[in-house]
Symmetry: C2
Subunit: 204 residues, 2 copies
């Protein structure tokens, strides 16, 4: 997120899904080989953030995300629904659980199977936990889904990648949590010139 707390900038559009200035939040990771390889991109560098990205990928057995992160849109999926942002070989290579209000048949793309869940966040997490078979479940996003899981006390750890820019508007990650009484403990910090990685344990 930006130093002022945004995970997307103001005025997002179809051409600019991350909003004004939002791409700056991802520059640190897009240049890493550790990110490029699972995304089917060549090259890239290794730096202090590499271990953070590798750590976030290791021991993950399933992913939960909101419909916005899968592919955006709202309402019923229709007869010939879009397959989302992720292309023919999505970078997940594991079961992905998409939260939605509208039922849809499972979608297999490469080594990734997307299933669509309309029974709420607890049910989706329960099924993802089962699919992960002892490994961790990663919460992909977006912000609204993260807020729902945080408020429900269903997050164990939270990694914030704080980029030293101010976006001044957009989508806040830690919003709508006034009543949630979330308690956190810092676990570790990794500092780089591009981004500061803050990791927290959520205290029950």
């Amino acid at each position: 997120m930006s130093l002022d707390g945004f995970v997307a900038g103001p005025n997002p559009s179809e051409d600019d899904a991350l909003g004004k200035g939002g791409m700056q939040l991802h520059e640190w990771i897009i240049k890493l080989a550790a990110w490029r390889k699972p995304h089917g991109e060549e090259g890239g560098e290794a730096n202090e953030s590499t271990a953070v990205v590798e750590e976030s990928q290791e021991n993950v057995g399933a992913v939960v995300m909101g419909r916005g992160m899968f592919g955006g849109g709202s309402g019923p999926w229709g007869d010939d629904p879009w397959n989302g942002w992720w292309g023919d070989e999505p970078p997940f290579h594991m079961p992905v659980f998409v939260l939605t209000h509208h039922p849809r048949e499972p979608l297999v793309l490469g080594e990734t199977t997307f299933t669509f869940h309309t029974d709420g966040i607890e049910s989706a997490l329960g099924q993802a936990t089962e699919a992960a078979a002892g490994k961790d479940v990663a919460l992909g996003g977006g912000a609204d889904v993260a807020q729902q899981y945080l408020a429900a006390g269903l997050i164990d750890e939270m990694q914030l990648n704080v980029v030293p820019v101010l976006l001044g508007g957009g989508t806040r990650l830690l919003d709508n949590l006034a009543e949630a009484e979330v308690r956190l403990e810092p676990i570790r910090v990794v500092e780089t010139p591009d981004v500061t990685h803050l990791k927290y344990r959520v205290v029950r």
Copy 2:
């Protein structure tokens, strides 16, 4: 500030100037001997934050703050104005430049002289820089004053003490800066169980 970006909580009042939950943002510093001593309090501990507090105090020759941080209120000061929050021996022991829209005679309390400046932030900073005689000028706060100086490109370094709580509302530090195009570079991080100290250089 809190992890969600607030330097004071919601619903501040005379009895509770920091707003709901706002006191949590200061617990880490109040227990430090390095803070207690200049504030005339005995005891206290030393921990990883001690060096951060000492660093923020060393080589400072003058302080700039807003009227709210001096003593709150608004409008003309009146014939018998209040002397602010800081008691008979304020912890500054140096010239303090208070930004206000209303003129007031200088106020000497112990080793601290407060002067009151109505000519705007640049003029006050210029006079503070002269008074500091080669040392640094510290910006005391509050958030609105910090925002004005940041937007004007008059801040060299910024220290954020990020406490792992979510206040969910209140006064945001890095607000109203959408048009400011502030560019920052991380300088260093100090990590403790209570607070994460992030220091940035503001790039011109």
